[in-house]
Point group: C2
Chain length 209, copies 2
DNA sequence: TTCTGTGAACGGATTCACAGCA
DNA sequence: TGCTGTGAATCCGTTCACAGAA
């Protein structure tokens, strides 16, 4: 249990969590690894093994209590609290991110927004006033959020990421289309729909539709 | 070469592609697996093995000719042509997608947009007029695009995905926060920033910042 | 009987290490 | 000498299969 949990396992937990929330909403009280696996296209054995890294949450012969498992996952993933995010880059993409309420609904709150463009700085977007990126490190030191969102053009991303890391940010959601290496101990996830499309076309390219 | 190429390998090819384009832009003519791996945080051996699934593109003692390798990857991935996409769901997210020019720049063109909301239907967004989702299958039959983008609320997604698949769509970029099982032979990639955040908080949760 | 939890077996992806070519 | 291409070795995640609890 103290032993290293594989990253792939951690990545699946939010999927379980989301599905369990949906099941709870449907009034389901108990679910077996079989059923859960059916919804997700994952083998029951994998679900059981994944969960077993963190404890023994099920009842033999019955399955998992939905509400109880949700609570465990909230604790494991740290979803039982609010998280502050800073956003860097308030171009079209950055604004779309600020306008999206799906983050806040899950406890992720953007508390500061930055840009390097003087035209942007000072503008208000919703409740936030865009700050100059030059003040990034000062602001980060005072509010010390844990998570950063990068929504700047690709060429600017590496520098922004370095700055965030230097200021103590340990998790980065990167929308910029670059493969930036996060240093050891810093989590980074890339959101890149173009890469997703480009890997799918491989499978389409010589099929005759 | 006819043998099955692992999916993970295919997923990395667009990353190589993108990086090579950047290197070409910097005037670089030859690159070794060593260098490329350094930029990407991938071992040189992995890059060489990945590429070896598709042919022998390098020169011993030298490395890979950047332009030549780019051309090979374009062919392998099917990026040497234009791809038509249909978008389902023109809410905030769908509009953001339509307003994004990064797809078209890479040869991915949204040629039709659908929604089930009568308020939306008929509206023009850029060059596209939103169509009623009821006509989805007819339209798909006439224009037969290969790729669909799903940007509808989670509860609607499974049905939309089924319809797309029934109409011959073989690749789906899914922005809806649901784990939908695509049938055999249908590629699907999920874009879900919330899941990404929720997996990162696991690593943050008990570190003292 | 049913379904969990888990060691063992398996399989697939990554890395190693080296032959061979420039 | 430098770097590719690739079988072999290794590592690691998934699946199997079964003991044990409800």
């Amino acid at each position: 249990m103290v032993l290293e949990v594989p990253q792939v396992v951690v990545n699946r937990l939010p999927i379980y969590y989301r599905t369990l929330i949906a099941l709870e909403g449907q009034g389901k009280e108990v679910v077996s690894s079989q059923e859960l696996g059916f919804f997700l296209g994952i083998t029951p054995a994998q679900i059981r093994k994944d969960l077993s890294y963190f404890g023994r949450f099920g009842k033999q012969g019955r399955g998992y209590n939905v509400r109880r498992l949700i609570e465990h996952l909230r604790g494991i993933l740290g979803l039982d609290r609010q998280w502050s995010l800073v956003l860097v880059g308030v171009g079209k993409l950055g604004r779309a991110i600020l306008g999206y309420n799906g983050f806040a609904r899950q406890g992720f709150n953007v508390v500061a927004a930055f840009d390097k463009d003087p035209e942007m700085v000072g503008q208000c977007i919703g409740p936030l006033q865009v700050q100059d990126i030059a003040g990034l490190s000062d602001t980060l030191r005072s509010i010390s959020p844990r998570i950063g969102i990068v929504a700047v053009p690709a060429p600017d991303a590496p520098e922004v990421i370095d700055t965030l890391v230097a200021c103590g940010i340990r998790a980065i959601l990167n929308y910029a289309p670059v493969e930036a290496k996060a240093p050891e101990g810093v989590q980074m996830r890339n959101i890149d729909p173009v890469l997703a499309l480009q890997s799918m076309t491989y499978y389409l390219k010589d099929r005759v539709s």
